[in-house]
Symmetry: C2
């Protein structure tokens, strides 16, 4: 199946997925690794597939949930990796009768660093290996299920897409009732990153019963710009006669699933505890429906693994992790000691930043491992989203690849070559972008800068990059006789009027001046009045941070709380 | 002599005053109060007058230096007050032969509160009494000499002018070599206040010999917009055979006096130690000269008795002495306890204010004595210039009358009646003025406020008030749905473009809002960018004070000191 056909179908009607395999096989008396059935008892698998098809499933999943090298290794079954996966596809296809067969992939069972010891690239290879077998065996699509580590999901998505740009891809994570994965990633963060990544459908499955999953799915439906899939469990597992069983009856399950459709689900199915009867009743109860139109929030967010920061009001990017001219910090970074980097990140969070700019300066003395390790350390010990202030393209990619969140590229020149390199990274890893309003040299006038930004905007649009994801930097130069700060203000005004978001490197303004903090703060107020959307600044400057707040409040970008007013004769 | 004739004459040529009477009579063997000669030995007086006339004096002074009621009381001569003064005029006129006779008035010998115990109004009455006698006896003008208390000089000036708007009036103070009076008033403060007051000539006399007086006079000549008079001593007094004598020879004295003429002196004469020979040699040496044209600094200053604050960069007026809604402060003020008022003034000076706004709020519970006493207390124990935020016109006049400096009236409505009342006070007591850009109600648009300000400017010009002395308040209202702060910004821009100075009450903006300090600070930056010249603000807001400095520096209103720049790879 081609992706656009799949997409077309998703617009036409709600599709039905199948139910569980694991819990259903256990119920039917299978013990041990169910994927072993693919080579030891293919008919048992075939039978369940057929029951799901007969129940009304439009899509069945291959019996390959745990059939990746690391999982199989735990069962000493590495040698059967190929057969298990290839047979699974064959079995499913043998009974699909024109319905779709999606290759099922789940976690390696190991956490990627920093949550565990698995290397991102190793996880990537494991997923690539399994996906490659499934695709070559002829699946119609791939579904990534029951993932609880955003970074692992990302590794899987990138692996699938490195194999094929044409295979339909569904990406799921599993959330707790509080709307977070066990590793602390919220449904909003998941939705936000998935909007960027090259997946066709996003969804949630497992862990929750339908009524618990509904509020989590509601948030997903509010933020996701992708078609949605959902597979709840059939209730909570109950230990009964030494076996786990699930108690949500098929009719009850079906009624719940109709709620998900009202919220905009495009594909509905069941996870643990659901069997063919659940799917059958659901399909009958729901029947042929057109998916609901959803109102999706267009707000842009940056995120780390655990922190989501909206950017619509104003984005404050802390500039303090900047090793330029700081020998001690440079040496530490060279020695892979990121303690100070982490400290500065934590400090900037306390100071009120939304994101931290990562500028190691001395790039020619570093390797891509420095950037990967830095990202892992920050993921582990700090929480703010990262702005990648990295010049070397390979290093930039290493950092973004390792990053468990939606970061910001800082920055691209407004030249086609420079932009295209970074657009490729945005599409592969997600995130936002700052584009400098210059090609090679700083244009003298605001009008020239504006013109260059508009040209860059056209290039971005030609490459299908939503301009909501992009900031344009009108360029701030050290204030003085040579550089009139009004040029920057005018450029902000022009860009803002044209609907472009703007971001500045505030501290450049006062480079070489006395009273830097005061000058920066005053200028920031002027910029915000002109419509500035973001700034990279020194959050240790209390005056700047206070004025920022005041300027935004004045501009009506933050609610002005009314305090008790003391009336008196005036 | 009419004032305009005198003024005309001053433009045409340098006039010669006479020399000393006191030291010259002592030299001639007179003991005791020399004014007693007017009734006991008129011929002695006549003789010295004649010698000065013969030496070349264009103006001779009556022998009435100490002939005021308080000085005479010390000699038990109150009963002779009238005769001494009237005879003095008669004697001088009997020998003047067409030359001018100016009635000489000096200090009461008592300091006015807070320097001493003399009440301002009593001093005023003493001067009025003596001046009245001199004027009625037919002097051509009045000279106020050897004053060292600015407030006493002011009392004398007001007294003379309350008697006659037509009598030519010369006002002198006596300075030490450091350019300050013994009570700490600088030559600049003196010059600044005299520019406003209704005197024809300002000058300095006594205490210094010519070469010491020259730098002091230089400052006067740079700041004074009035014709200038100068009378140095003939050197330092030396105790010789039990008598003080002065050693600067007539020729040496004459050569020095030529320097004063180069600096723009319009009238030159001699004080202690000078006699007819000094005047004779001087007149001959200098001859008939046209007064020099001077370049006078047009900058406006506010001052207290001892502190001068320029207003051209930006004027910061502290709002913290505001008793509105503060019961405890109100009670203290009602009880004439100004300790907190003084503390707040001192605090605001530390916080960086140029002036303090005095707003007692509860005017209907106060008397004019509250304002007089407050001004005296502030004069005594704090130093910042005062902004009179006083609604009741009588109270406003009491405060200004008592004030030893150049204050600010805050404020007048832009209505002819309201303006004229305050213009009268400005002309009588000196100072600057804030005019609200409203007649009775706050105009909605910036254009309306601008129009009203321009109309007020016309009224002020019609009344010969230099617009450099006036701020226009574009009106700041609490920011919110009803009031768009852009109206104020636009009004500042329009007024600034028309060359009007502007001042705002900054804190009004954030009335009822959260984060007042931040909002105020941000708005102040926007206002300064539009050209704002002054603000009444809360200097306890560190953010506001920091941003103020930064915004001015950015605007190029303060020199941006270049700090050492750390170069590094960027
Ligand atoms: Zn499940
Ligand atoms: Zn003297
Ligand atoms: Zn004298």
């Amino acid at each position: 199946m081609r992706r656009n056909e799949f997409f077309q179908l998703l617009q036409e009607r709600v599709l039905f997925l199948d139910g569980a395999y694991g819990t259903e096989f256990f119920k039917r008396g299978v013990n041990g690794l169910i994927e072993l059935l693919n080579i030891e008892d293919p008919e048992e698998v075939q039978k369940l597939h057929r029951e799901y098809i007969e129940a009304g499933s439009d899509i069945i999943l291959t019996n390959t949930f745990s059939a990746n090298r690391l999982k199989l290794r735990a069962y000493n079954l590495e040698k059967d990796l190929e057969r298990i996966n290839i047979n699974a596809v064959k079995i499913a296809k043998s009974v699909s009768g024109g319905k779709f067969v999606f290759g099922d992939i789940s976690s390696t069972g190991n956490f990627i660093s920093p949550l565990g010891n698995l290397d991102f690239e190793e996880a990537y290879e494991v997923f690539k290996e399994q996906a490659s077998l499934l695709i070559e065996a002829g699946v119609d699509g791939i579904i990534l299920e029951t993932m609880s580590d955003l970074k692992e999901l990302k590794a899987a998505i990138i692996a699938v897409r490195d194999l094929s740009h044409e295979i339909p891809l569904i990406a799921h994570m599993t959330f707790e009732a509080d709307g977070k994965t066990v590793s602390g990633t919220s449904i909003e963060i998941f939705a936000t990153l998935m909007n960027d990544l090259d997946v066709d459908v996003v969804g949630i499955n497992c862990s929750l019963e339908p009524d618990e999953m509904l509020p989590v799915f509601t948030k997903l439906s509010e933020l996701s710009m992708k078609p949605l899939c959902v597979e709840p469990n059939a209730g909570k597992p109950i230990l009964e006669k030494g076996r786990l069983s699930y108690k949500t009856a098929p009719k009850e399950f079906a009624v719940y699933m109709a709620d998900f459709i009202e919220l905009g689900a495009n594909i509905v199915g069941g996870c643990c505890g659901t069997g063919p009867e659940h799917i059958k009743v659901m399909c009958k109860y729901i029947g042929n429906q057109k998916p609901r139109k959803r109102q999706v929030k267009r707000e842009q967010y940056l995120s780390s693994r655990t922190i989501l920061r909206p950017t619509d009001t104003f984005l404050v990017i802390g500039e303090r992790i900047n090793a330029s001219g700081r020998k001690k910090l440079q040496t530490k970074i060279q020695q892979m000691d990121f303690s100070q980097v982490v400290e500065l990140s934590q400090l900037q969070e306390q100071e009120g930043c939304d994101a931290i700019d990562l500028n190691f300066g001395i790039e020619k003395l570093l390797t891509h491992d420095h950037f990967r390790r830095a990202i892992v350390e920050l993921d582990k010990r700090s929480s703010l989203p990262v702005s990648f202030d990295i010049q070397n393209l390979q290093f930039l990619e290493s950092a973004m690849r390792e990053y468990a969140g939606r970061g910001l590229i800082n920055s691209a020149f407004a030249r086609e070559d420079h932009l295209e390199e970074r657009i490729r990274l945005l599409k592969k890893y997600g995130g936002m972008l700052i584009v400098l309003a210059m090609e090679k040299h700083v244009p003298e006038t605001a009008q020239q800068r504006f013109k260059i930004a508009m040209k860059a905007a056209e290039i971005l649009k030609d490459h299908d990059v939503d301009l909501e994801r992009v900031y344009f930097d009108p360029l701030v130069l050290p204030a003085g006789a040579k550089n009139d700060y009004h040029t920057t203000l005018k450029a902000i005004e022009l860009m803002n009027r044209a609907g472009l978001k703007t971001s500045i490197g505030l501290s450049n303004l006062s480079f070489g001046l006395a009273n830097r903090e005061s000058v920066n703060a005053a200028f920031l107020a002027l910029c915000i009045e002109k419509g500035l959307s973001a700034a990279i600044l020194n959050s240790a400057e209390a005056t700047t941070m206070n004025v920022l707040r005041g300027a935004l409040q004045l501009k009506g970008k933050e609610p002005a709380k009314t305090e008790q007013v003391i009336e008196d004769e005036l």
